[in-house]
Point group: C2
Chain length 169, copies 2
DNA sequence: ACCCATTCATTGGTCGGCCAAGGTAATCTG
DNA sequence: CAGATTACCTTGGCCGACCAATGAATGGGT
């Protein structure tokens, strides 16, 4: 610790020695999100909104609470995101006649028109990320990520479980 | 718009069909971050700050610009984060005598005392995430994540490259 | 019928993160 | 040595995301 220049050009902080995979995961995810953001920006979307729209494309008019559950996000996050999406014209919101405190959400035609663009972004990103990986490597990666997701699902807010494919209400 | 109940309990949005790995990656990363956040909160840190502190633990007094580069974050993000960390007493900042526009950052003793806690959180998280994975699966996951990181590094802001292990100035 | 617990959504606050602009200091030119 | 260009940081604005607290409507007990 005397007059040494610590150089410090370590790529992995020493305190993260105990979690190499976690570090790699965090880094990859951030880069992935950045790359997604760049592409989504040209569509007029912010990262995170594309998931919302995907859900709406599949669903037709949905109650906000179902969106919250299926996305695994906080209620307030969804509220604000929908307010912005509504103001941009991508989404329409209205009261639920069956439950006067609920809100029904639906993609507008303009929102639906984003679909092909988002799909393109998404598959483009997939292709970029997995460049140079053979089919077996890709499958293996998917499998391992699935296992990790299962491990984390227990304690994290469980985003996206679907135990009952039964008629909803 | 007829009386159909689309059920919609799909766990994967159909529009994301083209990027299964990307979807899994995003989900896992978010759950991972949430789990990290829960644990870091008990240490008085917010998710993201731990990386900053790790860097500072390794480095001694560093110029802010080096932090920016090694973390791969935006300059403004680092500025604000450091302002908050300074106000919490985890970090000290001062002028660089050699360059009057630069700022030197250093962890305080209080900041250094967080290290064991953060290491614990990190390894705890690693253990939770990789539960049930054998050593070879873990190595495989690390390898595949490394490949993906390399693919994304090209276009994303390259967080954490260290091309020249040479004495700096 | 009544009250109480639950659900649904919103607001306000905080943080991490980005971008765009700006100001100051160093450095590279001519 | 003057002028333009770069590097370093800060500010302000915006968005995604969390938590905590609130209000409104529903539903269940007794």
């Amino acid at each position: 610790m005397p007059g040494t220049d610590p150089v410090c050009t370590e790529t992995t902080p020493s305190a993260a020695r105990g979690g190499p995979v976690s570090i790699a995961l965090a880094r990859v995810a951030r880069m992935h999100r950045i790359a997604a953001g760049r592409r989504l920006k040209e569509l007029g979307l912010y990262p995170g909104q594309e998931m919302m729209m995907m859900r709406l494309w599949d669903c037709g008019p949905v109650r906000q609470s179902e969106l919250i559950q299926s996305l695994g996000l906080d209620a307030s996050t969804v509220t604000k995101m929908l307010q912005r999406l509504e103001q941009c014209g991508h989404v329409r919101r209205g009261p639920d006649p069956a439950d006067r405190r609920a809100v029904l959400v639906e993609a507008t035609d303009e929102g639906r028109s984003l679909r092909t663009g988002v799909e393109g972004v998404w598959s483009d990103l997939e292709q970029l990320s997995l460049q140079g990986l053979g089919p077996d490597d890709r499958a293996e990666l998917a499998r391992l990520l699935g296992l990790v997701a299962e491990n984390l699902r227990v304690e994290a807010g469980e985003a996206g479980e679907c135990p009952l494919p039964q008629g909803n209400r």
